[in-house]
């Protein structure tokens, strides 16, 4: 028999091209356009690098860059240690042991995520300040000699860690609860003790999950602007702000952004490498949950204190401080303008959440409908914005939009229209930036619910003669509604909390709660920052609790 299906002919360039032509459809092209659109800010930073550094660049390299690098490294190392300590220990203790208030603490441990780190920073600065709550407490106890200055690098590392450790807690706990039970039982049957089981078995197995959470924390650490600038620590992000606003040198901001991007991609590669090295966790979730261990009452209270400590430091104390300030400043801060700002903040967050979710849906389904398999990998590039600090995205959007606006003004002037700025300094640029930055926040929950819908469901719709779009609206959307809903809420929270990107791109006359809090704090009015801060925290808290309930139910 003649071998027609043989390697050589089937995968020759000619027949590959034929198939490429056959399989390219509009969805493939739409996917490429969306990915390009989302990657544009980063591409522009790359392109701008070729126009050379600014005048102050050599000065910055000599005098400031070592400090930026050293400080960022310091924060990365210290935050890693603290975050792992808080996150992993609490995740293991709540998964493995029974103790008083365990159920409440399980979700209370997530709540620090509702507070932006810069707000935690303001609260702690106030507490440790001369005349602050802690100072008064020490004086009342006759410990006048104790003065702790936290407005420095170490203080910043502590503040960032205590507000970001839940990322590690959440992913480690998910692993311990869902994946670890049969291994734990096997270890028990082999007569291995509690401590050895944890260090020799659970910790190594949970490493990919822990590293995934840790990398998210470190991205947030490198993204932070509000806390670092308040604590006076020079980092890459504060450097970008300084070269943009004070030195008015976009070229320098671009060079710093490029360096920061390289550092972050190194982090991502580190994560991929860690996960690849330990690829032995099964993707199947185990239906049996860990059996929690009952220990002596006294030990149970010790465990309670260990688990409560991060909640106390990351939530109770800062929120307590803010509420105290809010009572003092309510009469001056709470006015019509404040209500207007709150409404603007909500409006911006809702609209940008909807836009971002819309883009995520387009990306997920267009790449699915494309018959070319490499398109699905390309679609993942559109999600990388979550890794890029807000300040960097803002720079990447500012540069091209300023150029585009200049061009538009010239063009429209020829028709006698005086248009002014169309994109730059308007909400369009801001919405675009949020979509780029938070696409992953929307993409992941939608994608994971979409994966739960078996392919045979949309397939059978198509076999029954119904096209892609109609199948989506009639079959797929009703089945992924919860995923889409939680995506909207998650992006909403993130936009409410976002600071650096908003500071650079917001229209002149528009304020958000985050910006207002930052402005008060920068103007030496940190007490007044408490009310906008509490507004952000409470709007972020309700969905955090709600989503956690949803996750537990599943």
């Amino acid at each position: 028999m003649k071998q027609v299906g043989s390697n050589k002919e089937t995968f020759s360039l000619k027949s590959r091209l034929k198939r490429l032509k056959r399989d390219s459809n509009r969805w493939s092209i739409f996917t490429l356009i969306i990915v390009l659109f989302l990657a544009l800010p980063i591409i522009f930073i790359g392109v701008e690098l070729f126009s050379g550094p600014g005048e102050t660049w050599s000065h910055i390299v000599q005098h400031l860059l070592p400090e930026y690098i050293w400080n960022s490294l310091y924060l990365v190392v210290f935050c890693s240690v603290l975050v792992l300590l808080f996150g992993v220990s609490s995740a293991w203790l709540v998964s493995r042991f029974e103790f008083p208030f365990r159920k409440q603490l399980e979700w209370l441990l997530i709540l620090p995520l509702a507070i932006p780190s810069y707000i935690v920073g303001y609260a702690y600065a106030g507490m440790f300040d001369y005349g602050g709550s802690l100072d008064l407490f020490f004086r009342a106890m006759n410990f006048d000699f104790i003065r702790i200055d936290i407005m420095n690098r170490a203080g910043l590392a502590f503040v960032l860690s205590i507000s970001l450790f839940p990322y590690v807690y959440v992913s480690a706990r998910a692993f311990f609860l869902n994946q670890a039970n049969n291994l734990l039982e096997a270890s028990k049957m082999l007569g291995v003790g509690e401590r050895k089981t944890f260090f020799k078995l659970m910790l190594p197995l949970a490493r990919p999950a822990i590293v995934a959470g840790l990398v998210l924390v470190l991205m947030e650490v490198l993204n932070d602007y509000g806390a670092a600038s308040y604590y006076g620590v020079n980092t890459f992000t504060t450097g970008i702000f300084r070269s943009w606003f004070s030195l008015e040198e976009p070229e320098t901001a671009v060079y710093l952004s490029a360096l920061l991007i390289i550092i972050i991609f190194a982090l991502i590669l580190f994560e991929k490498w860690q996960v690849r090295k330990v690829k032995f966790t099964s993707s199947k979730t185990n239906n049996t949950h860990i059996q929690r261990k009952e220990t002596k009452k006294s030990i149970q209270w010790v465990i309670f204190s260990v688990v409560f400590l991060p909640v106390l430091l990351g939530f109770v104390l800062p929120v307590g401080q803010l509420i105290y300030w809010a009572f003092i400043t309510a009469s001056t801060v709470f006015d019509l303008e404040f209500i207007l700002i709150s409404l603007q903040s909500f409006g911006i967050a809702i609209v940008s959440a909807l836009i971002t979710v819309f883009f995520a849906l387009l990306l997920i389904y267009f790449s699915k409908w494309s018959a070319l398999r490499f398109i699905k990998n390309i679609a993942r590039i559109g999600v990388l914005g979550y890794a890029i600090p807000g300040a960097v995205i803002a720079i990447g959007i500012m540069i091209p939009t300023i150029a585009l606006d200049k061009w538009l003004i010239d063009v429209l002037a020829q028709f006698g229209i005086d248009s002014g700025l169309i994109i730059n300094g308007t909400l369009i640029a801001l919405f675009y930036a949020y979509a780029v930055r938070f696409l992953a926040v929307a993409y992941n929950p939608i994608d994971s619910t979409a994966l739960k819908v078996d392919n045979s469901i949309p397939d059978s719709s198509k076999v029954l003669g119904v096209g892609n779009l109609k199948t989506f609206f009639k079959i797929e959307f009703p089945l992924i509604k919860t995923g889409v809903f939680s995506a909207v809420i998650l992006v909403f929270i993130d936009v409410m909390k976002e600071l650096p990107l908003t500071l650079i791109l917001k229209p002149y006359h528009i304020d958000t709660l985050a910006v207002k809090a930052f402005e008060y704090a920068s103007d030496e009015m940190v007490m007044e920052a408490s009310i906008p801060s509490l507004f952000i925290i409470f709007t972020a808290m309700i969905p955090v609790i709600f989503l956690n309930k949803l996750l537990i139910k599943k």
Partner: protein, 333 residues
């Protein structure tokens, strides 16, 4: 009505082929079973025909129209092929009625057609229920009704009974094929179970590692299998290798492969039994009582082991076994 020509599909750019150079025809009104173990390419083949995968080589022609080739591809929604998925794939948020209505929303008298289909599958008053309120067998019949409602020219069933236990399986298989026979539709039916295939198919296509090894009427496959794999799909079969040839004193042609079905090996043939051309002695190593018959594990003098069946409960430890030359299966290497 369906012609498949040298169809190939690889999921890793030609390193391995899920399907390689598959060709066959299907006549209108036929029921053809595709049989093969898991990984043999059965599901890939039907997904290619349905339009859910795209071929790397070859062509698929349905009712004189090319529906897939290297430079042409007709979308699945335009092919008019009915497909019943292994996991039924009913739309969980729609009622049974709306599930069946889904594919025929442009048809005239569509509601009457849905009721007709419900009657056909014996679920006349279940239209208002949701899929999760039905048993597995009922869901199966809804999936069938949904696939048949648009009057497809070809109906494909992908492992339709593999989710069911064996008792229910036989019953449902008969029910499903009674319904299908009433409609007279052409059927391609994927299964890994030869019993399923033998009991309902006019023709059986055997796939092995992505290639067609035989396509034939059911009875022929048993008598004249093309290779040892096909032979053993339809009952335990032993290859008569050099050692066995020596043990039974039966020299066979060198350039062919020979085999004998275990059930054709006779235990303790009488000396008057002219049926057995080749006889040898064997030691009984183990007896396993399987209901009314007994399975014997034997060791020949040459050291070879083989299993045979007997009804004789008082079998001794050393026995004679033999077979007839006309029962020998012969294949090309």
């Amino acid at each position: 009505m369906l012609t498949i020509k040298s169809l190939s599909k690889s999921f890793d750019k030609g390193k391995n082929y899920a399907l390689e150079d598959v060709s066959f025809d299907l006549k209108a009104g036929d029921v053809c079973a595709i049989v093969g173990e898991s990984g043999s390419g059965k599901t890939t083949l039907v997904r290619l025909i349905a339009g859910l995968e795209r071929p790397d080589h070859g062509s698929i022609v349905l009712e004189d129209k090319v529906i897939a080739s290297v430079d042409k591809f007709v979308q699945p929604e335009k092919r008019k092929i009915g497909l019943v998925f292994q996991e039924y794939a009913l739309f969980p948020h729609l009622t049974i009625f709306d599930n069946i209505l889904y594919g025929i929303s442009k048809m005239k008298n569509k509601k009457a057609r849905v009721q007709e289909m419900l009657d056909l599958v014996g679920l006349s008053d279940m239209g208002k229920r949701y899929p999760h309120q039905l048993s597995g067998g009922q869901q199966q019949r809804v999936a069938l009704a949904r696939a048949l409602a648009p009057k497809p020219s070809l109906l494909i069933l992908d492992e339709p009974f593999s989710n069911l236990d064996s008792m229910l399986r036989t019953q449902l298989r008969n029910e499903v094929f009674d319904i299908i026979k009433k409609t007279g539709v052409t059927v391609l039916f994927v299964t890994h179970d030869t019993q399923d295939a033998l009991s309902v198919a006019d023709e059986i296509l055997i796939l092995q590692k992505g290639k067609v090894v035989q396509k034939d009427a059911a009875a022929n496959l048993y008598v004249k299998p093309n290779n040892l794999y096909v032979a053993s799909l339809f009952g335990d079969t032993v290859q008569i290798n050099k050692n066995l040839q020596t043990a039974f004193h039966c020299p066979l042609k060198e350039d062919c492969c020979h085999a004998i079905r275990n059930e054709k090996i006779k235990v303790n043939p009488t000396t008057y039994d002219s049926d057995c051309d080749y006889i040898t002695t064997a030691q009984v190593i183990r007896k396993v009582v399987l209901g009314d018959s007994i399975q014997l594990l034997l060791k020949l003098e040459s050291g070879e082991q083989l299993t045979v069946m007997t009804k004789d409960a008082n079998i001794s430890d050393t026995i004679h076994i033999g077979f007839n030359s006309k029962d020998i299966l012969e294949f090309n290497q």
